[in-house]
Amino acid sequence: MNKIAKLFVTFISAITLALVSFTSSFAKVEGEYIVLGSAISLTGKYSSNGVHTQNGYNMAVDRINKMGGVEVQGKKYKFEIIYYDDESNPKRAAQLAERLIKQDGVHYMLGPYSSGLTKAIAPVTEKYKIPMVEANGASRSLFTKGYKYLFAVLSPANQYLEVAIDLAVEKNGGKGVKIAQAFEQDAFSQDVRLGILDAAKRTGSEIIIDDKLPKELNDMAATLAKVKAVKPDVLVVSGHTKGALTAIRQISEMKVDVPMLAMTHCDAAKLSKQHGKKSEFALCASQWHKNLSYKDKFFGSGKKYAKDFQKEFGYDPPYQSAESSAALLVFKDAFERANSFDRDAVRDALVDTEMQTFYGNIKFGPGGQNVAKPMILFQVRCKGDDCENRVVAPTKWASDKFYHPIPKWSERS
């Protein structure tokens, strides 16, 4: 035993030495770089949206750096981001946030993907008073916890599909509708659900199916069988990218006829590309669409952003990428107005943010959510085999009329 004990002691002391030499932390600003940190889902169930987020961040970092960077106290700085993979796991995300702040010495954070992970990171950034601009945590409960260092460039989740219910009621001559809904069991989708419950109450609509879907979502046939039996006026589905893909796949396989299908994450799932005509008439909530008329000097218009993004990454940017890019613009703006790297000065500058980006107007409410930007709805429409997302609401940007009701499968070619 004593030899083993010696071995063990040697092992421990070796590790001790290694750790002590590692502890030297980096600075928040290194030479000409402002270092931002972010835990992103590169693997696991949110990996596709995690990559959309990362691409959005990278695109903005490149663009801002190329166009002169950030000017603070007369000196030009460039952005740099340290990424870790949170594996789509809140436990890991919280740990990595701690690591970014304590070991890598990051003083400014960018958000992760999804509400659940943001919920896990926010207590950490709050504890260390690290300003975090996040672009992908929409759950309303994030903004009611009194967080002072959390800023979200997007609209809260409960607003996603409320408008869709209003549209359905309008098409029904102002009378309440019958709603069937199925939501993934995660923070974001459950918040979308709460928004629908509010809308149903307000419009006197009735919820006749209220299902929960598992996290590793790849089957919702049970819900769809019920939908076939009770014939609701609206079917609402939300479950990130996998939810959107599963819904369209099974609705078309089972030939489920509903007059209106409202979803989230259609553009992130590239529905119109992946499922083509099968996805036609799906109504989708979105934070952003390239046809919107917002502008800024870095990316120009939404259309220009989409073109540049397409060139760089080879696909049309979903709103997850656009809002992520916008987060960097917000940070740049705040640094320049604060004219300092003091965390509290930057935080105060963030509070006063009022700007227009290609993604939309940004102004933070008392809870940290963006209050200056409406949600939009688009509908997948096809010409031949070519399908596209067309904005149908709000009317200011609508390029197409909302098509209602969805024709029956037997009548679709």
Binding site: I4, L19, N89, A94, K102, G116, P123, S141
Partner: protein
């Protein structure tokens, strides 16, 4: 004998001093160190079933998750209406005072130790009659079922998750939270180690071993195996519940399947760590968990996107080259250092018998 004991004493006091000094020496690594303590506790308690008793359980994650939810629920429920706390979009904000926070977590941890132990007793009574693979698969189901059920209970946040009470804002020191959870988990680790070491020197361990080696014979010898199996599981559940409670407070956000009943990660890790170090040994799980944690923290970020492939390779390497774990491997190579005497005559005699 005296000499060995003195050496042990030096080793233990050295480790305790290192443990107490660690959060000051490696201030930036407090959270990782806390994780390490919890991982060791999980590996050691799993070893009681998987290593000593020969019952490969995937169900210990159930107690870990239960402990997490219980601690948080008690901590909130003692002072505020739990349903309003977990309701998403609730406009009210509840803030724990410093005293409330610590009272809450204290009582919460007590509950999170006792209730899982009781539940382990009840479930154990029902399923510990199963043996081998049947038991393993049954316990695998336990963790998954618990995750799905917890995801449907509104009062603990359902799919929204449960944000645990934030560390009291009146404590200005930003390091205080990290230190508090580290020392809590370190105390748990020391407690667990003393308990397991005590078991290793007791008749109880011999009975567990007898069950592992041949349960029917053990029963024929007059041992009430069921009783001991249940008690063994309850002991594990007690410490797993505490570990979960501490983790919940540290992470700050409980999600039903990804944080609490996280069978896919924690549930597998605890098995892997025990096997890596060597199951059925006192130090095996400790060494296994330590190595695993360092491997994970050190390498995973370097091989972004490939970390699970690397983990898969690690599992294969362990199973192929170290089926008995590191301790088992060392023991085979240097048996005399483990106090084993090889009687050449006896060995030859056995070979001849075969």
């Amino acid at each position: 004998m005296e000499k060995v004991k003195q050496k042990d004493l030096i080793l233990y006091s050295g480790l305790i001093i290192l443990g107490l000094a660690a959060p000051y020496l490696f201030s930036a690594f407090k959270v990782q160190l806390t994780y390490l303590c919890v991982l060791i506790v999980l590996a050691m308690t799993w070893n009681l079933q998987g290593g000593e008793m020969g019952y490969n359980t995937f169900g210990n994650i159930l107690f870990y998750g239960l402990g997490m939810y219980l601690t948080a629920s008690v901590q909130v429920g003692m002072f505020f209406p739990l349903a309003e706390w977990t309701e998403s979009g609730g406009e009210k904000t509840f803030v724990h005072t410093t005293a409330q926070y610590f009272q809450g977590i204290g009582v919460g941890l007590l509950v999170s130790a006792i209730v899982p132990a009781v539940i382990a007793g009840a479930i154990g009574y029902a399923i510990l009659g199963l043996r081998g693979h049947y038991f393993a698969i049954c316990t695998l189901g336990l963790g998954i079922a618990a995750g799905e059920i917890a995801g449907g209970i509104e009062i603990i946040g359902a799919g929204q998750g449960f944000t645990t009470p934030p560390f009291p804002a009146e404590i200005v020191d930003t390091e205080a939270r990290g230190k508090f959870f580290y020392f809590l988990s370190f105390a748990l680790l020391v407690g667990t180690f003393i308990f397991v070491k005590y078991i290793y020197g007791s008749r109880f361990r011999l009975i567990l071993n007898a069950i592992r080696d041949n349960e029917d014979k053990a029963e024929a010898m007059g041992i009430q195996t069921m009783k001991y199996k249940i008690v063994g599981w309850m002991c594990s559940a007690f410490f797993c519940g505490l570990a979960g409670g501490i983790m919940g407070g540290l992470i700050g956000y409980i999600d039903s399947t990804d944080v609490a009943f996280d069978g896919r990660e924690m549930g597998v890790f605890m098995v892997l760590m025990a096997i890596l170090g060597g199951k059925g040994t006192l130090w095996g799980p400790v060494i296994g968990a330590t190595l695993f944690h360092f491997f994970k923290e050190g390498l995973w970020t370097l091989i972004l996107g490939w970390q699970y492939v690397a983990l898969g390779v690690l599992i294969v390497v362990i199973v192929v080259y170290f089926p008995e774990g590191l301790m088992g491997w060392l023991r085979e190579k240097y048996p005399e250092r483990f106090g084993e005497v090889i009687d050449e005559k006896d060995r030859k005699a056995q070979v001849e018998l075969k």
